[in-house]
Assembly symmetry: C2
Homo-oligomer: 492 residues x 2
């Protein structure tokens, strides 16, 4: 089944591409740079959405929906934001097609249907949302405004990669408005924490919380915070961002509120988002040469039951048992699939569910029926064990928790092993070229030095960690004084 999946150690990039395709997660489409998310992949995304959506609502946010198009004049209003996205905008210029007079059955753009003002397909929705907030906010009583949107966005990337960088992707974008700077900053950090908790608890993905340097900030933000994760090939991946927008968008769109003293003030804003990029992070963080490895909390199928049989009679007896097990586990809110197909061998099925990352496999054969046992196997460690049927309802939930915990711990150990403290530029380059990983190093704080390091090594400052410690040192590049280490890595 998984014959031919490339090994991570030989070609990590090919391994990823093949895995995405063969585990039925996603596919390239006929539209340049856009992906098709297949049902199995989409069901993982749905689990992510559910967990995040619940958390957003618990923290007081409501969902809403804003237009997919941004008129050019609105898009321009916040200058830095517009500049940041202008080079990757899909632009709608016409609203009608007509029959090609020269080619039968073909259509051409109708030149008479040119829009007066071009529409940008949203690369992000600050512009269209803040132009709406202007209508919704008059008084301090209208604040805070805590809104989230689940949507598709388009950024015309030249080099695309399924889940990691696609022209169209799915995401959620929170957009909030507040009466004070403090409250907006608090919101920015609260949502960063929501993302970090989600990554660690659900995705089993340890992350480093930090703030971006000026160079890496979201266009139009005063501060950008992020969570950064480390992939198995030693490259970093930005898994979520939360932006403190200050009054930038309020000023660009003239959004003021009258405070308790009846004075007009500009509103303070935040925005924050995670996207289908998380799917890429999930795949790359845990999977192995046999296929996908999924944390149980995000696995569409948590347990698969495979019957081992020769005769139809055996299958019947096993099926009865299997249906009983399915019911018992479903009562404990565990998602179970019983695969009773007689078209594939058990070996084929084992390989298939390994490829698809199902956390636990239960196998039942005729001898198990006699002995009242089942065989249970973990996807993460490949550990197998024959257990008494009566133990099942205790052991399955335990093992699922244990897999969730093990994946996190394994990723954390990997990260610890691949986080380097480095004090010389030579060593810095050597680490990057040999094993990669995170590098904590001194930096002089200047955008110029950051840019030079990026040019020469392709490593960027992922973040200034929130648990940044004051420590005097010298910039590894310029030798100038530094007050603490920042986090470098090559990144996706």
């Amino acid at each position: 089944m998984n014959k031919g999946l490339p090994k991570r150690s030989e070609n990590y990039s090919e391994w990823y591409n093949e895995l995405v395709k063969r585990a039925d997660l996603a596919d390239h489409s006929d539209v340049r740079g856009c992906m098709v998310i297949k049902p199995y992949g989409y069901s993982i995304w749905e689990k992510m959405q559910q967990a995040l959506d619940k958390k957003f609502k618990e923290t007081g946010h409501s969902n809403a929906y804003f237009p997919v198009f941004v008129p050019k004049s609105l898009f321009e209003a916040e200058e830095k934001n517009a500049e940041g996205f202008a080079k990757e905008c899909a632009v709608v210029t016409h609203y009608r097609l007509k029959t090609d007079p020269y080619k039968k059955g073909q259509l051409i753009v109708d030149p008479d249907a040119k829009l007066e003002e071009e529409l940008i397909v949203r690369p992000t929705s600050e512009a269209v949302i803040w132009s709406t907030y202007k209508k919704w906010i008059q008084s301090y009583r209208d604040l805070p405004l805590l809104i989230n949107q689940w949507a598709n966005v388009v950024r015309w990337e030249m080099r695309t990669r399924i889940f990691l960088r696609t022209a169209e992707f799915l995401w959620q974008e929170g957009h909030t408005a507040h009466a004070t700077q403090d409250e907006a900053m608090q919101e920015t950090l609260t949502m960063l924490e929501v993302y970090a908790e989600f990554a660690e608890k659900y995705m089993a993905l340890p992350v480093i919380k930090g703030r971006k340097t000026e160079n890496e900030r979201f266009a139009g933000a005063v501060e950008t915070f992020c969570i950064e994760a480390l992939m198995q090939d030693g490259k970093a991946l930005q898994a979520g961002t939360s932006h403190f927008l200050g009054q930038n968008f309020a000023k660009a769109f003239d959004v003021k509120f009258s405070n308790k003293d009846n004075t007009l003030e500009y509103v303070w804003g935040t925005s924050w988002g995670v996207s289908t990029r998380l799917m890429g992070a999930l795949i790359m963080a845990h999977s192995d040469d046999e296929g996908l490895v999924l944390p149980p909390l995000l696995a569409p199928i948590q347990v698969v039951i495979v019957p081992i049989f020769k005769t139809a009679e055996q299958l019947n007896s096993i099926s009865e048992k299997a249906q009983h097990i399915k019911k018992l586990l479903e009562e404990k809110n565990i998602t179970v699939k019983y695969d009773n197909s007689d078209k594939q061998t058990p070996g084929f099925k084992f390989a298939e569910y390994e490829l698809k990352g199902v956390p636990l496999r239960i196998a039942i054969g005729p001898r198990d029926l006699e002995n009242n046992t089942i065989e249970i196997a973990r996807r993460d460690t490949k550990e197998k064990k024959s257990i008494a049927f009566s133990e099942l309802v205790h052991i399955v939930p335990q093992w699922l928790s244990s897999i969730q915990e093990n994946l996190y711990q394994r990723a954390l150990n990997f990260r610890s092993k691949h986080t380097h403290i480095c004090d010389s530029y030579g060593q810095f380059q050597k680490i990057l070229d040999n094993e990669g990983g995170f590098i904590l190093a001194h930096w002089d704080g200047s955008p110029e030095t950051e840019e030079k390091i990026k040019e020469e090594t392709k490593a960027t400052i992922r973040c200034i960690p929130l648990d940044f410690k004051k420590e005097n040192g010298k910039c590894i590049y310029s030798g100038k004084p530094s007050v603490g280490r920042v986090l470098f890595a090559r990144a996706y």
Copy 2:
């Protein structure tokens, strides 16, 4: 609060527009023809989505996601479908903006970033999905393929109306592929039934199931089935459609499978969808001059508790009781809001929750505390009653069911009263001009007659009801023979 909401009898259309705005359902945006769905409106849509999504999964479908863009060459492939949508397509022609050299801070479309092939923003996804199915389907083992997508689509409508007809709207679109004609037809009808059940059970909206005439068929379908509902102004609204596509898209995109005899055959297809248009139907079917009336199964807040107090001490005692009630009802899976704000009077709150269609209101005052009673009031009938506190947990669920049932019954009675059996064209015109409603009348079966009637009266054949009875008669327009009555109405 709802002062100034126009009366339905005076200006139904203005009543609808104002209600949508004032009940915080949706708003116009700065983008021509596109709406903003506000949090309260969106939370109703979320409830609709949840109920439908559950039903789609129970009937074997999985969700997936396909690109928002359709390359022009794919769009053209199914000729009738392309023709049907060509006139309302938003077309992306460029992928970059650049700084306007003549105007500081402004952007222009970069003429060097013209796409080689234009991209259509999907008006519907048959083209992009069937071009993908070609890659996914080889053998009968790959069938049936049962996929649904929740997405935004764009149809450049000239006259727009919030929820009912907008340039961008949200919907779900099911796209299935089958080995046989029978199975595809069965799927088409199963999904029609899913829609009808959803409309009747959740929306409390009685619908007539039927098949569209050729004139009204979905472009590219062999048969279109629909559910049709009647609004309070006597106009019909198409609330969902399910299309039997035959082999049209399979042929256009060359999608074949090898059957059990190893022979290649074209695949049979269906597609089916409902959209945010359902929000319009929900509003118009039940609401009154005081505001929205929501069926409990789709109400974001099912019960609101309003305290009646003068002193802070009274509020404290009432709040204790209210929190207790909230907890008791939430244990029964009832969604409760306790509005303890001291900024508005109880009267203001009563009007506000009436406007927002909250099905049940509980009021508690100091005397209720003494007597251990509460006042409970229904939104639909305005019935009010003082009940003993101990009865609460029984009466609230009963009343909620009763409201759900009453709304359905009321809408059904309205429809019965406004469904006319009509045998002359003069009477037909009179009914349309005076009271509207559904008209069951004989039609000769020709597209020409249908077109003439539409031109002269603005009424269309909504459907040929599935419970169509053979009955010989004469076409009300042409006098030619007819074999049964079809359903006419003016429609949204």
